[in-house]
């Protein structure tokens, strides 16, 4: 950019030279300069033109606009800070939430053409996800028409051990030979399985996860062909999976083995997870219809009593992965979108206020020849600069918020570990900044600077005032919607937390482990280990009561038995229907005292019950009620795996969380020696998996060390996970708490912004009407009348906002219905709290400017006029 000094120097040089020439021609000194000046022409105008020659390029005038805008912002730091703060709040929270939900809702999955992949199978009360038994799968695989490929893997990723120097616990999955090709994945090193490898008793080969290859094998490029020891067996690694590989269920798997389904022998075999790729022109609904006949015919493999409760389910892979996080994701995204809208309305309001005070300046510029387009561009540049600054600050806020989300987030939010402010999210932030810059800039930009503004008249602002009031009303309306939604989630959280879970979770430490396949496949070995463990743990000082069970509440890995397969002595067998699955646990006598589950009737297990020949069981209250409505459960004999006598009825435990009614359940006593039950080793882990619960008043950290020491003494290579019962149960409420917390945070931001906006408009209104108020006071208006005058205006638009907001809230509440528990969409309690709160905040925001109005000194006000 050329400076004005350069232009001036160039002109001076010219005039000096001409003067010199004139003097040489004989003119007097004064005369020579005067004539040179005349010959040159209007220097000021020419200098102006020279500047225009250079400033005319788009980029340079943009720089000029930017510099001008920046100067303006620096001159009004309060305005700038407020606007940037509002923009940062809106853009930052939107970016942070987007970075989380993008993975859930939008970003493509790491498979080729991921939109064509579906998950299918039967859905039954047993499992929340669809599965298929191998025998049915063989029929489906053979006769299916809507897919180009169909593949499966054995449900559940089993623990397995790398048994070399430095043993390592791994996750091993068994996948069908066409698994990788169906998902469009190719190994980064080595090769995929061949058809010859995916057969019963085939060669022991495996594909390795990138992480394991990198972490344990230092990216050895020669790994394909090498042999590793898994559970003591040699396995040949044939390839390495890409770094972004993930199982379609998002389970963690370090090694993939061939599934080796045996069509001849697999009848009534294992449960599979089935995935398929749709043919190019087939929709999900068409595919579902096409599979329906196959599903119906494969119902023959389902136990008859069970059939009514089994259905076909087919859904996109994304839906399978996202599960129920979809609604919550949309709700959160909408909530931050609303905050962003409020922020935009807020900044638009600030800009409008600023535009009013700059009316004169703009009018002067227009009068001096600035085109309308030029002025609009200048205003838009300012707002975009504001948006950019807000975006920058927003990025920092987003980073902090994302840290917070990850810290607070419950388990089971898909892909949260991957959420980051990566280029895609930053691009979104940039787009958000520009879009919001345009959104809040458009109204002030279109204000036409009018020459009349130069006259100093104060009447021109009315139309603009109306727009500003509407913007305020909109902010109040959106805040109300946010507040109501947050209020409902909070109320339902409160209701959830007040539901008794049926156990006492304080002071209970848990330890979970899975014995390795290599050393503990025999049930005798398992019993030996558990017996020794029980003895050792019971000896630890401070252990109040101790339980070892195959599973612990809530939910998770519980065994189930069809009611129809049970028998009650002296009662006819169950005939019609299944009665569904009844959960049961394999527990040591201390189970009920360790978990604090009270006995409703009868007694808990005792050590005598474990004696050979004795056989006792305990029913949950719901189950006892169901089997023996007359309340005579004690002493009845029931056959499950073997006949047992009911010795007690235990209080219900809400295994599926506070939002679900208690499920029927029964308890079988774990003995010291192998018995009928321990011989049934259900895959994948059999009875190798066990959980310990210890009630103790000793410091949990100290106790955890002692427990670990006992485990290490028994089997130094066994990984043990220590936890607390409180944490286990608390996890059930994590999701609702997280949702409620975030929504409350965003509602708070929204209300704060709206309050600031309301205050700003009111303050401006009072300033603008100072003279009028002065006149009124001079004419005898009381402070009360002035208060009424000012507040009535605020009340008007607040009321308009509340009415619109109430209508919006009803829609919003309906949208979040599935996230609510024990709260109706029209819950009067929420509205009764939220409405007065919002009104109070609105009142407070307008009260301060009103006070200022009342204190107007009529004399001062009139003197200004």
């Amino acid at each position: 950019m050329k400076s004005d000094d350069d232009f001036r120097e160039e002109i001076e040089f010219h005039v000096d030279m001409r003067t010199e020439l004139n003097r040489q021609a004989g003119a007097a000194s004064e005369e020579a300069r005067e004539s040179a000046r005349r010959q040159f022409g209007n220097a000021t105008l020419i200098q102006e033109e020279m500047r225009r020659m250079h400033a005319n390029t788009f980029f340079e005038s943009l720089l000029q606009d930017l510099r001008y805008a920046a100067r303006g912002f620096v001159r009004q730091p309060l305005f700038t800070l407020t606007a940037v703060f509002a923009a940062a709040l809106g853009i930052g929270s939107t970016s942070a939430v987007f970075s989380v939900v993008d993975r859930i809702l939008f970003r493509s999955l790491p498979y080729a053409h991921d939109g064509r992949l579906v998950s299918l199978g039967m859905i039954a009360p047993l499992d929340t996800n669809e599965f298929l038994f191998a025998d049915a799968y063989f029929d489906w695989r053979k006769h299916q028409t809507p897919f180009t490929a169909i593949t499966s893997f054995t449900a559940g990723v089993a623990d397995c051990d790398l048994t070399q120097t430095n043993p390592l616990r791994l996750g091993c999955a068994q996948v069908e030979g066409n698994f990788l090709s169906t998902f469009g994945i190719s190994p980064v090193l080595g090769r995929d399985f061949t058809a010859q490898e995916d057969v019963p008793n085939g060669p022991r080969v495996a594909l390795m996860n990138y992480g394991l290859w990198q972490g344990r094998f230092a990216r050895d490029p020669n790994i394909p062909g090498k042999t590793v020891l898994i559970d003591g067996q040699p396995v040949t690694i044939i390839g390495v999976l890409p770094a972004n590989f993930e199982m379609p269920t998002l389970a963690h798997a370090d090694l993939l083995f061939p599934e080796a389904l045996d069509e001849a022998r697999e009848r009534a075999g294992r449960a599979l997870r089935v995935f398929a790729r749709l043919k190019p022109d087939v929709t999900l609904a068409q595919a579902q219809a096409a599979m329906q006949p196959l599903f119906e015919s494969s119902l023959q493999y389902v136990p008859p009593q069970f059939r009514k409760e089994v259905q076909l389910r087919m859904r996109s892979l994304r839906d399978r992965q996202v599960q129920d996080a979809r609604t919550a994701s949309w709700v959160l995204l909408s909530a931050v979108g609303a905050v962003l809208l409020i922020a935009c309305a807020n900044i638009a309001n600030l800009l409008l206020a600023r535009a009013t005070s700059r009316r004169k300046e703009l009018a002067v510029r227009a009068a001096l020849g600035a085109g309308r387009g030029r002025l609009i561009r200048q205003t838009l540049t300012e707002t975009l600069l504001l948006g950019g600054l807000g975006g920058l600050a927003g990025c920092m806020l987003a980073w902090a918020l994302l840290r917070m989300f990850i810290g607070l987030a419950p388990e089971g939010i898909p892909r949260l570990d991957q959420a980051a402010l990566d280029p895609r999210v930053l691009l979104f932030t940039l787009a958000g900044s520009i879009a919001s810059g345009l959104l809040f800039g458009i109204a002030p930009a279109l204000q036409n600077p009018q020459a009349e503004s130069l006259t100093g008249s104060r009447t021109a602002g009315t139309r603009r005032m109306l727009l500003r009031e509407w913007l305020c009303a909109a902010q109040i309306a959106i805040s109300l919607v946010l507040l109501v939604s947050a209020g409902m989630l909070l109320r339902s959280l409160w209701k959830i937390q007040s539901v008794p879970m049926g156990l006492e979770t304080e002071h209970v430490i848990t330890a979970e482990f899975v014995l390795s396949r290599l050393g503990y496949s025999e049930d005798a070995r398992q019993h030996q280990f558990i017996n020794e463990l029980e003895m050792r743990l019971a000896r630890i000082p401070g252990v109040g009561s101790l339980a070892i069970s195959d599973s612990l509440p809530p939910s998770g890995g519980t065994r189930g038995r069809l009611l129809a397969s049970m028998q009650v002595e002296g009662q006819p067998p169950f005939d019609k229907g299944t009665g569904g699955l009844i959960m049961w646990r394999y527990v040591t006598p201390g189970y009920f005292s360790a978990l604090g589950i009270p006995m409703v009737r009868g007694r808990a297990f005792t050590e005598e019950d474990r004696a050979p020949g004795a056989s006792s069981m305990i029913l949950s209250q719901t189950f006892a009620q169901r089997l023996f409505p007359n309340g005579n459960a004690i002493g009845q004999r029931i056959k499950t795996n073997e006949w047992a006598t009911v010795v007690g009825v235990a209080a219900d435990v809400r295994n599926l969380g506070p939002m679900q009614p208690p499920e029927p359940e029964y308890y079988i006593l774990r003995r010291h020696v192998p018995d009928e039950i321990s011989r049934i080793q259900e895959p994948p882990t059999g009875w190798r998996q066990a959980k310990v619960a210890i009630r103790t008043s000793v410091n949990p950290k100290v106790m955890a060390d002692w427990i670990k020491r006992e485990f290490a003494a028994l089997d130094p290579a066994l990984p043990v996970t220590i936890g607390s019962m409180q944490r286990r149960v608390g996890r059930l409420v994590d999701r609702p708490r997280f949702n409620a917390l975030l929504l409350t945070l965003f509602a708070g931001m929204g209300v704060l912004l709206a309050a600031v906006g309301l205050y700003g408009v009111m303050a401006f209104l009072v300033t603008q009407r100072t003279a009028e108020i002065g006149v009124r006071m001079a004419l005898g208006a009381t402070p009360g009348a002035i208060t009424k005058l000012v507040l009535s205006r605020a009340a008007g638009w607040t009321l308009a906002g509340v009415v619109v907001g109430l209508a919006g809230s009803i829609f919003a509440a309906r949208a979040i219905q599935s996230m609510l528990f024990g709260v109706e969409a029209r819950d009067p309690g929420t509205y009764l709290v939220v409405l007065p709160l919002l009104l109070l905040i609105a009142f407070a925001a307008s009260w301060i400017p009103t006070l200022r109005a009342v204190r107007v000194d009529p004399m001062t006000a009139l003197r200004h006029e």
Binding site: K2, D6, F7, E9, E10, I11, F13, H14, D16, M17, R18, Q39, F40, G41, N42, A43, I46, E49, M50, R52, M53, H54, N56, T57
Partner: protein, 105 residues
């Protein structure tokens, strides 16, 4: 001035084709070469020069003159040279055309 703009540009570039010069020098040369026929305000030369500079037909730099004063020297760029050649052609053909019209009138 406006109708003379094309001509003025042509004259400036033609002058600079003889070698780099400052604004005053260019003005002197144009007056001398056109034998005083061209009566323009000398100042109007400068916006034209700066536009040529912006359009990259000439380049400029500050240099010290013989009498120890800083002056802004303009120089024809290769783009300017090309433009000049083309413009001279069309000027020739146009002035011939004008001459013919005048003769027949």
């Amino acid at each position: 001035m406006v109708e003379l703009q094309g001509t003025l540009v042509l004259l400036i570039l033609k002058t600079l084709a003889r070698g780099p010069n400052h604004g005053f020098g260019i003005a002197l040369h144009i007056q001398a070469a056109s034998e005083g026929l061209l009566r323009v305000e000398e100042g109007s030369l400068y916006p034209a020069l700066h536009r040529l500079e912006r359009d990259k037909l000439v380049s400029a730099e500050w240099k010290v003159t013989g009498n120890k004063r800083r002056a802004r020297y303009y120089k024809l760029t290769s783009a300017g040279r090309k433009w000049l050649a083309k413009a001279e052609d069309s000027w020739d053909s146009m002035s011939k055309g004008v001459g013919r019209v005048l003769r027949f009138a």
